[in-house]
Each structure stands twice: as structure tokens, then as C-alpha cells.
Symmetry: C2
Subunit: 233 residues, 2 copies
């Protein structure tokens, strides 16, 4: 048995892939979504590496992935810069997501959901109602995010799930910023419940209709919110 000079970091984890790069990816992404790294915030690769206790290599890998997802830009000489969510992008995401969710809802209404799946949807709506009663907009925001993710994830189309999840994360990032500026979202809960009802009845037509009109209403409100936040193109 050759004795190897174990320098440091005993590499306790055995199983999965990329530890360090994965950690860097998750931490930076989380910081961006939660607003810790504000739009425009810059950080050098070395800086991040130091903060995470790793070398530039895994940090760079994380940055490349995040840049591909448009969370950051890699500016040649200044490291990463956190992308701003422009009004344009928010509107675009809202529009695309509307279409994808309508597709998901249509699919859901077209197949028989298990009792458990329906219970999950009901629970998600219940959580939203509870948050609304407590006037807890942050909790409502989280619950709404959860509901939308659930709706998408139940649809079974993994390609759709992947794309919609990415967009939902970005929408959630915006929601975290905008929550204080939004009026009490009473319509949302009612509409979500109605969509689930249509899904339960197996009525794709109605599910899509409701979802569409809800999105249209929110689209109009969005304009005001963007104004109040002073976000421009």
C-alpha cells in the first residue's frame, strides 16, 4: 500500500458529479434570484473563488452555465455582471410562459389525474389561500411559484417542464423584487382554483380559456407594476 500524502480536503462525498462547480452554480444562481446579487452587480472570478473556498476553475464553469441561462453576462475584463431583468424581458417571459402553461393545463385536463396529483394541486391552492388570509405576500409569492411549478411538472412533457421551469425561476426572481409593489392578488387564487376545477372535470377547453384570460389580466397589471418599479426597457 503506497501512502499518499493527503494534503487537504478529504473529499468526503463519494457519489455524484461535480461537487465544487455545482456548489458554485447553485450559490451564485441563488444569490441572483434572491436578489443578494442585485442587477448590475459585478464580481471577479477570483473573488468568487475566494468566497466559496475553491479555485477559479469550478467558478468559471458555473459562470459559463449561468451566462448561457442569461442570469449573468461574462464581461471580458470585469468578471461576471448580473443581468438586469428588463421590462422587455419580463413581458417576453410572461408571454411565453403563458403559452407553455396553457399547453400544460390542456394536457392535464386531457388525461386522468390520480387522486394524489389532484390533492397536490388542491394543497398548493390552499397554501395560497392561507397566505392571502394572513396578508403574507411573501408566502403567497412562494405558494404561487409552487403552484405554477406543480402545474407544469404534472404535465409529463419533460422538454416543456425544463423550459418552463427555467422561465418560472426567472419570473420568480422578478416576483421577489416586485412583491411589495403588487396589489393583493385576489383574482389569482380564484382563477387557479377554476383551472384546477376544469382539469378535474377533464375539460381542456375551459382550462385553457381561464388560463388565457387570467394571463391577459395579469399582463395588463404587469404594465402598472413595471411603471411603479420604474423598470424600463
Amino acid at each position: 500500500m503506497i501512502e499518499k500524502p493527503v494534503l487537504e480536503s478529504s473529499m468526503a462525498d463519494a457519489g455524484s458529479a461535480n461537487r465544487q462547480a455545482e456548489i458554485a452554480y447553485a450559490r451564485i444562481k441563488d444569490a441572483v434570484i434572491r436578489g443578494e446579487f442585485a442587477p448590475g452587480h459585478q464580481a471577479l472570478e477570483q473573488e468568487l473563488a475566494l468566497r466559496f473556498g475553491m479555485s477559479r476553475t469550478p467558478v468559471r464553469e458555473a459562470l459559463v452555465r449561468l451566462a448561457q441561462e442569461r442570469y449573468i453576462e461574462l464581461v471580458p475584463r470585469r468578471g461576471m455582471r448580473v443581468s438586469a431583468l428588463s421590462a422587455r424581458e419580463i413581458r417576453e417571459i410572461n408571454e411565453v410562459l403563458g403559452g407553455l402553461e396553457a399547453q400544460a393545463a390542456e394536457r392535464l385536463a386531457s388525461r386522468k389525474l390520480t387522486a394524489e396529483e389532484l390533492a397536490q394541486l388542491d394543497a398548493a391552492i390552499a397554501a395560497m389561500d392561507r397566505a392571502l388570509e394572513n396578508e403574507d405576500l411573501t408566502a403567497w409569492s412562494e405558494a404561487d411559484y409552487h403552484f405554477h411549478r406543480l402545474l407544469v411538472e404534472l404535465c409529463g412533457n419533460r422538454t416543456l417542464i425544463g423550459i418552463a421551469t427555467q422561465l418560472l425561476e426567472k419570473a420568480h426572481r422578478f416576483r421577489i423584487i416586485s412583491t411589495p409593489q403588487r396589489s393583493r392578488p385576489v383574482y389569482s387564487n380564484v382563477n387557479h382554483a377554476a383551472v384546477v376545477e376544469a382539469i378535474r372535470r377533464g375539460d381542456p377547453q375551459t382550462a385553457v380559456e381561464i388560463h388565457r384570460s387570467h394571463k391577459r389580466r395579469w399582463s395588463r397589471e404587469l404594465t402598472d407594476v413595471l411603471d411603479r418599479l420604474g423598470i424600463d426597457e
Copy 2:
């Protein structure tokens, strides 16, 4: 002036970002899409680095990006493995893309296109017609790809453009494989022309309707094609 020992590679290019990593990314992606790297094909990082005349670092960066786009998998000990296009994934892509393109068409019909934009669409259809007359399925396939990309790119929603383009590239990868198995696509040209007509008239309703029914027809044909190719879930 300090004389620096210029070792090799005079770095002739000045302007843009990542040269090497970008090259690796483009070459591998192209090889996968064009079928040079068949599904299941494996290659080690060192192997690719050698082939491209660079070190493992930029190759790895390219692989990480491609893995994120699901063109390849990074298998811990065997380098990259080219992902197979499963029947399931193809159907999923077809479904999502149908929705996105319908959205794009709707948007196009809802705004006034410039004469040049309409001319571009007409030209794309003309190219498809020409290919069909010449019984050149490969050329038709390229022209069809071009038409769909154009349709999407004219819609103005950059988020939609980005997502749809990724999906169109994958669909194109499938088309390259499946072209020999497909019956002569007569309907497609007629339908594409009808969609453009609806867009020209500014009739979103009809544009969406036609697009939908076309996608439904293709969806049915797809099942046969998948059978003939022996692609299973």
C-alpha cells in the same frame, strides 16, 4: 520595451470573446447535429482537445454547455456521450415547438410586417417549392428549417426566439436523420403558404388555426416515421 519570448500561436484574432471554447462548442455541436457523432458515440476530453489542437480546458467548457443543452451527457469516467434523440423527446419537442410557433405566427399576424419581411417569408417558401420540384429532400429539409427559423425570428420576442431556436436545432437534427424516411412533404408547403397569407392579411385567428392543424397532421405522420426508423422511447 521588454522583449517577451513569443512561444507559439500569435493570437491573430483580436475582437470577440472565447475563441477556443467557442470553436470547440460549435464543432462538437455541429458534429452532433449533422450526425457525424452518432447517438451513443463517446469521446474523451483529451481526445477532442487533441483533435481540435487545444487543451482540455476549453473543450471542457464546451462540453459543459452542450450537456446543459442535452446534446451530450458527461459520464464521469468516459468523457462525453452523445445523447440519443428518443421518440419521446422528439414528440415532446414537436409539441412544444408547435405551441411556440403558433404564438409567433399570432404575433406576426397582429402587427404590420414590412415589405421586406414579407418578401423574406415568400422567398423561404419559394425555396421550399423549388426543392420539392427538384425532388431534393435534403434541400427541402434545409429550406423548411430556414422557414421555421425565419417565422420565429420575425416575431420579436427574443426569449421566444432563443428557446424556439434551440428546439428547432434539435428538430433539425432529427430531420437530418429522418429525411430519407419521410414521404414527400406536399402539405407542408401549402400550409406554410397559407400561414404566410394569413399573416399578410393580418388575421391572427386563421394563422393559428392553420398552423395548429398542420402540426396535428405532422404529429400523426411522426408516429409512422418513428416506427419506420425504429426509434423507440
